[in-house]
């Protein structure tokens, strides 16, 4: 019989497989802050915009929600992460910015510098 540590390793492997199955290896991973504070700042709309974009054919993007990292005055926040690149953190993302992030960053690879949290 396996001990708890052995069991947890199996469980972790299974979990990672499931995450990979959800498209984790896409070129770009997008995380939208969805804590109460972020939602209050409007992140639910932002999330919906990303979801709609994926439904409407935006490919090679792994979309996930996340908790609050603590940048209260810059919420809603959105991260775009690409392997081998410094993760890009966008702040004060409203509907307009979300659309632009999709068009410029996700589709064309352009980092929109002025919205990036430093």
């Amino acid at each position: 019989m396996k001990n708890p540590l052995e069991i947890i390793k199996v469980k972790r492997a299974e979990a990672i497989n499931r995450i990979l199955g959800r498209g984790y290896f896409s070129t770009k991973r997008v995380y939208v802050g969805m804590a109460t504070c972020e939602i209050a700042a409007g992140s639910a709309d932002v999330m919906e915009i990303f979801q709609t974009a994926i439904k409407n054919g935006l490919v090679d993007v792994y979309l996930s929600q996340k908790g609050c990292a603590g940048r209260c005055n810059l919420e809603p926040t959105v991260e775009v992460i690409e392997e081998g690149k410094i993760p890009v953190k966008y702040g004060l993302v409203d509907a307009g910015r979300a659309h632009e992030i999709i068009e410029r960053h996700l589709k064309k690879g352009e980092v929109i510098e002025e919205w990036v949290i430093q």
Binding site: I8, Y31, T36, C72, I86, E114, I117, Q118
Partner: protein, 612 residues
Amino acid sequence: MGDSVTTNQPIEKRPRKQVEYNIILCSGPSCLHNKSSELYTEIVKQLEAFNCQSKVEIILSGCLGMCARGPIMVINPGYILYGDVGVNDVHDIIKGHIVDKTPFSQKVIHEDHLFNRFYRVFGDVKFFGKQMRIALRNCGIIDPEKIDDYLSVRGYEALAKVLTDYSPAEVIHQIQDSGLRGRGGAGFPTGLKWKLTADAEGEVKYVICNADEGDPGAFMDRSAIEGDPHSIIEGMLIGGYAVGAKKGFLYIRAEYPLAIKRLEKALTAAREQNFLGDNILGSNYSFDIEIRLGAGAFVCGEETALIQSIEGERGMPRPRPPYPSVRGLFDKPTLTNNVETWANIPVIILDGAKWFSTIGTKSSKGTKVFAVAGNVENTGLVEVPMGTTLREIIFDICGGIPGNRKFKALQTGGPSGGCLTEDSLDTQVDYESLAKAGSFMGSGGMIVMDDTTCMVNVARYFLEFTQNESCGKCTPCREGTKRMLEILTRITDGRGEVKDIEKLERLGAMISKASLCGLGRSAPNPVLSTLSKFRNEYEDHILHKKCTTGSCQAMLTYSINDQCIGCGACIRVCPVNAIKGIKRNPHTIDSELCIKCGECMKVCKFRAIDRV
């Protein structure tokens, strides 16, 4: 939150460097000691030598938690860690990693701490630079509603390790060795609390997570639960194993619906995976957690009141002893820790008590989360190693005071804490130092005030809060804070009496020593500390009927100066017809009638209204 920013405006004032790499140089106390400042100079030199300074940004960070291997530097992307970096190694590292795009393997260290993942994403953000994310390690990087995400970051491995390798007594040793102290505010040694509960006689024991966060402006617990609910559950599971409990209660205020939803989801997922329930992970250990909602009474954050509330009674503190660790929930030995404390537990187990105890100061180990609010540029949730100074938090992390105003005071510990002034800004964050400076660690509320803030009014605000939230059981807190509030209201209304300061001090001293629970004992703190540090403001209010900051409306006098051209705009807006005058002749304000609403001042285009 400030006004919303239009889409095209940059969100930060500093111009951003477009870089491909950033180098994070640990400048924690230990690395600084190991001459990381010399390294900085050397890095700049080497970057220039290879002519790649434009694509690299150097960031100084707080402690990266690998002091034994310091000095530490990290190169992003990839969060490649270099340890024992000497001045002579810089050339090889820059050349290898940045010029040749091959990490310099001799100095790469593979030590990996749970919190490193956070910095892989956020390591280059200045706001997070001096922070250290242990309790909030996963907040903002995983999907809190997916147990798979938690599992992928070594979730529940600490539980498995404990069940495989440690006896309950060994777990308690680990926690004791770590030096962790209660993050709810009082700072009682966590390991000792566990041991007392473990040693208490009784078959049935309980574990409680106190998530009844109630300080005004505090949201550390909410964020932690909303961002990473499983780490709290895992902490409780380990605690239950250590003290011999089979049942845990998570007491959370009903005003946190999203946190509750995520907890419920997390509990269900954990049950499905057998992290909760019978014979967890094939062991003999069985444990489950029930959520109990609090109706939002501040006092229910007090341990004994919280226990009564879970029992279905009105939440009112009761005298100790008996201590809850001996006789608590349903009269059984009970271990209560707050959210942040629980969130630290898996880290201590996986990264080791020894490692944990290297972070922080002599008496206070690990990190502390603060919710910084008020007059600072960057409000937010901040987790810093103990020992970080208040100045670093306010100015380096949170960007200082906006609008070129002057820092005036800092309130820590919420309504239980005290005000600290400029002189105390170099105080290190730890339980003893803050208390010595005249405040209190508290659960993590931190309110920054600039020079437009009236300290008497601040004291009144906090006292009004505690008076409203007093459970009403003991006389000093119920009646005493009411009288103090009446005195403060009188002072801010311009009706203060000469003896009022003495009365405040007399009542305050008595209430702090005679009250039944911590709420009452700490209720006078905001008053007593502002009295000791801003006594002149009290005196101005009482003796000169003057509020120098202009915050106390009742004490203001509006008058019209000779800039008045007699346009009559003020006459039209005055709701009480206190302004009289003939057109094109200077007007006057009848101060008897004036209700000090300030409307005249708003409409006057000639700066003809004075307010003193």
